[in-house]
């Protein structure tokens, strides 16, 4: 300690402590920079989220609206029921190709009657109505054969390009280059809209209708996909919740600490990190090729998603079982309950809110999962609604995220709008599920 005082007198600072020297300034600048980097990182993350949502919403919201044209159609007996005895089987013999001219002629006549000038050929006029419309008319007539011979006023879907014009996706300039639509058709559509015969309004069909072929984006809907996703969630809930809770109770409350339980625990944490597509390969190899379950069926999707969700549920359940203080168990054992009774009568009810929250979050994850479902054939084009459970679980169906993928693979740009719209539906479900989970947590969470 002598050295410090032995030397020369302490160097007096050149300046006041209140004036920053160059080094302090540099350090302060570095501090400010570092802080700015941090803030920038947070802002970039949030901006990315906002951009993502804006991109999806701006592309997808329009899919909830669709353009319809209203005009009277005379359901001529001569064409639709040549024998004239209203026998449903004879009426069914007339295919959609028989309805197409009926509809097209009625449309052309209606336009002429309204006195709208145009120079379109009949083919161009007919092409303005959706390819799906004759099939809808046919279904309507088959459901009610008495309509034949009457004149009914119909509201029919218009072609996807015309619909795109009203939504701003198709313009006069793009129509010039497009083989599927001419500027003349757009002019006529605008005239019809001005006259009130064509309008764009809310489109329930987008949520309830089944998928449509690649040439008819205007008719494509999410009905089958929503049912398929719902069935899969039923399967996941029915299997993953009981199995996951049972496994967690065993591991947390009863399992002896030995090699086997260690292996199981490592296994579960590793399973949680296995890429989802590997579960798809498992489903294809085991459930479809080995067990012979049908392709594209919600039961197979549900089983695969169950295996994927199990680790999530087990981890959440174990955490909430662990959060129940040991005093509860000891009190139960103290008044003579068996270990099993202590767990099932006292610990499990107290852990239930946490288990439920974990299950809902697991289900939400499963609902958005796409990759494994692609491998088990859920990409198939399905137009039939599956039957009610349990048989319906084995019918072909689609799933919401897979439907999104399906639509992105089609060439018509109108499907981009549909895909974004489907994502909005998917996100609404997810927000709802997560909100329920958060609510449950807020309402029932106990801190010991």
């Amino acid at each position: 300690m002598t050295d410090a005082t032995a030397g020369s007198a302490p160097r007096t600072p050149a300046r006041s402590l209140f004036a920053e020297d160059a080094r302090t300034k540099r350090r302060n600048r570095a501090e400010a920079r570092f802080r700015a980097y941090g803030l920038a990182a947070v802002v970039i993350g949030i901006l990315a989220l906002i951009m993502l949502l804006i991109s999806i919403l701006s592309n997808g919201l329009s899919s909830f609206r669709q353009t319809y044209v209203t005009f009277p159609v005379e359901l001529a007996e001569a064409r639709l029921d040549p024998q004239g005895n209203r026998n449903p089987e004879e009426i069914a013999a007339v295919t959609t190709f028989g309805y197409l001219p009926v509809m097209a002629m009625a449309f052309i006549e209606h336009v002429d009657a309204m006195g709208i000038e145009h120079d379109l050929s009949p083919q161009e006029m007919a092409a303005m109505i959706s390819g799906e419309a004759p099939a809808q008319l046919r279904a309507m007539v088959l459901a009610n054969p008495d309509l034949v011979g009457q004149t009914v006023t119909l509201e029919m879907l218009v072609n996807g390009r015309i619909d795109g014009y009203f939504k701003g996706r198709v313009t006069m300039a793009s129509a010039e280059r497009d083989n599927n639509v001419t500027p003349g058709q757009l002019v006529l559509a605008q005239a019809l809209a001005d006259a009130g015969a064509m309008e764009t309004r809310f489109n329930w069909n987008f949520i309830t209708a089944p998928d449509a072929s690649g040439q008819r984006p205007e008719a494509a809907g999410l009905g089958v996909a929503i049912i398929g996703s719902f069935y899969m969630m039923l399967v996941v809930l029915a299997l993953a919740l009981p199995i996951g809770v049972a496994a967690s109770i065993y591991l947390e409350e009863f399992a002896p600490k030995n090699r086997l339980t260690d292996i199981i625990e490592v296994n579960i944490s590793n399973l949680a990190a296995v890429p989802s597509i590997v579960f798809g390969i498992l489903g294809l190899a085991i459930f479809i090729n080995f067990a012979g379950l049908p392709q594209s069926a919600p039961i197979v999707g549900g089983l695969v998603l169950t295996l994927m969700t199990l680790p999530t549920i087990i981890i959440a359940t174990r955490a909430s079982l662990r959060a129940v203080p040991p005093s509860i168990r000891e009190a139960a054992l103290g008044v003579g309950a068996s270990k099993m009774q202590a767990v099932f009568h006292h610990v499990l009810p107290l852990a239930a809110p946490g288990i439920l929250t974990g299950t809902i979050i697991g289900l939400a994850q499963a609902l958005g999962e796409t990759a494994p479902l692609l491998l088990i054939g859920m990409v198939a084009f399905v137009r039939e609604y599956p039957a009610a459970p349990l048989d319906g679980l084995f019918d072909p169906a689609s799933a919401l995220p897979v439907q999104v993928y399906n639509w992105t693979q089609r060439s018509d740009p109108a499907f981009v709008e549909r895909a974004s719209g489907a994502i909005i539906v998917l996100l609404v479900f997810l927000v709802f599920m997560n909100a329920v989970a958060i609510m449950l947590r807020r309402r029932f969470e106990r801190r010991w």
């Binding site: 570092f34 947070v42 993350g45 065993y250 009863f254 498992l282 609902l367």
Partner: protein, 486 residues
């Protein structure tokens, strides 16, 4: 009898057993439940478990084994000549199954009587046309061997189902009777029930292991099949990926692996700095209110399904990068590129990195910070020289976990990276990854005897091993280098 009915009947038997067992126990105690060893409900539950559990277990095992037995018996009926004609045994069998299902549909629709279906001969009836009438489409003409096999397939299935129904119901009744007879007031019903429940709990916890075993075996088995058809050297070291379903494909792993790693590296270059800085800011700088708003917002990013990111890459990020970076720089004109997929995947991984690092940074004890401040360090100096070194193992673990996520991610690359296998350095070029090719080779109708389909299993196994290795390494690093402060 439909499966559902069998289950319902077994459950009804179980419910009856519960009531009967409970009554018998109470009766044996002369109506005074205090004399019983266990609570009355345990006697009922004991009978219920004895009647329901063995019956349903036998049914499950039966359902798994019956198709295999029938398959092997029916396959034996088909002569070698018919198999050679169709190409493979599995193709003939799928024909047999389709014809059998068609006959079932025909009977259900009332177009055929069961006797007609059994007595049908190809010499007398045009089976294909007959089934076509009721909407069962068959690919080709039905040969007499296939029809005979289908008929015996149906017969075996019928008798198998009948036997199963009888066996399951008999077992349920037997279990009920056994449990009922055993019930008396001395019987330790609670102990018996608890042992049974414990067994069920144990069974449930082994499902996780069974899943892993299933994953490994399903892929190993098919991978071996693949390597019998295709040399493993060319798979692991091949530089070309050119599958063609006429045969003579080049199925080299290297270009796919290159694409996977390239996309993952870009994703990590985006997510690690942003995620880490965000975590540091949240943990060290942000006030309570800022944290309460920003943290959940960032975590929303983690809850968004990957297909949403995929669409975002496809319709927004891809065209943006192409129009403002790739095209002006002359680097490419494709909107799907390594850069597109990498950037979007990076966004997806931000919350993953940030929430893991946040936890780790928060775990560094306050005393270390206080000591550093006491020596005159600024906040950023403390973070860089004290906190980060202390948290490093955890952060490395988080980055490795993120890398494993990136490698296994599918939908973003399917929609954002493209499908052309290329070995190139240009990040604005479309490349493909292992996961994209698994989807590509296995989607739609595939013939599981061709190397072009089987390669997907080899790719899947490679992916599984890679991600598993990264996870194990991450856990190892976190455990080994974790500082113990308390």
């Amino acid at each position: 009898m439909p499966l559902l009915w069998i289950i319902v009947i077994v459950l009804l038997l179980g419910a009856a057993g519960f009531v009967l067992g409970r009554q018998r126990a109470v009766a044996s105690a002369g109506g005074d439940a205090r004399i019983l060893h266990s609570l009355p409900n345990y006697y009922g539950t004991n009978v219920l478990i004895l009647s329901v559990v063995p019956a349903l277990l036998v049914m499950a095992v039966w359902l798994i084994i019956q198709p295999m037995v029938i398959e092997s018996r029916v396959t034996g009926m088909i002569p070698e000549a018919a198999i050679e004609e169709a190409g493979s045994r599995s193709l003939v069998m799928s024909d047999v199954r389709r014809v059998a299902d068609g006959l079932d549909t025909a009977i259900a629709a009332g177009a055929l009587t069961p006797e007609q279906a059994r007595g049908m001969r190809t010499e007398l009836t045009d089976v294909r046309a007959r089934l076509g009438e009721i909407g069962v489409a068959l690919g080709g003409e039905v040969s007499s061997e296939v029809l005979a096999a289908a008929q015996s397939y149906r017969g075996l299935k019928r008798s198998g189902n009948l036997m199963m129904t009888v066996a399951v119901l008999a077992l349920a009744a037997l279990g009920l009777a056994y449990g009922y007879i055993r019930t008396n007031r001395e019987f330790r019903a609670r102990n018996a029930v608890e042992v049974a429940i414990l067994a069920i709990l144990m069974l449930a916890s082994t499902i996780a292991i069974l899943t892993t075993v299933g994953i490994v075996f399903s892929m190993l088995f098919e991978t071996f099949n693949f390597f019998e058809l295709y040399p493993w050297r060319e798979f692991f070291f091949g530089l070309e990926w050119r599958p063609s379903f006429e045969g003579g494909s080049d199925l080299g792993l290297i270009p796919l692996l290159w694409g996977t790693l390239y996309v993952s590296v870009i994703a990590l270059l985006v997510s690690v700095p942003i995620g880490l800085f965000a975590a540091i800011y949240m943990a060290e700088y942000a006030g309570k209110r800022m944290r309460a708003v920003a943290k959940p917002l960032l975590e929303i990013l983690a809850g968004i399904p990957t297909i949403v990111y995929g669409l975002f890459a496809l319709i927004t990020v891809g065209p943006l990068l192409r129009d403002y970076f790739a095209a002006p720089l002359g680097l490419g004109s494709s909107s799907s590129s390594v850069m597109t997929a990498g950037v979007v995947m990076g966004i997806m991984l931000i919350p993953f990195v940030s929430s893991l690092s946040d936890d780790i940074i928060n775990a560094v004890p306050q005393s270390l910070r206080d000591g550093s401040y006491g020596l005159g360090a600024t906040q950023s100096e403390t973070v860089r020289q004290v906190i980060l070194p202390a948290a490093l193992p955890g952060i490395v673990g988080a980055v490795l976990l993120a890398a494993s996520r990136a490698i296994g991610e599918t939908m973003i690359v399917v929609l954002g990276a493209g499908a052309a296998a290329a070995l190139s350095l240009n990040p604005f070029e479309a490349m493909t990854t292992v996961t994209v090719k698994i989807v590509g080779q296995l989607t739609g109708d595939t013939d599981f005897s061709s190397p072009e389909a089987l390669v997907a299993f080899a790719l899947g196994l490679t992916l599984f091993v890679l991600t598993l290795g990264l996870n194990v390494l991450a856990l190892y690093i976190v455990r080994k280098y974790r500082e113990q402060y308390e």
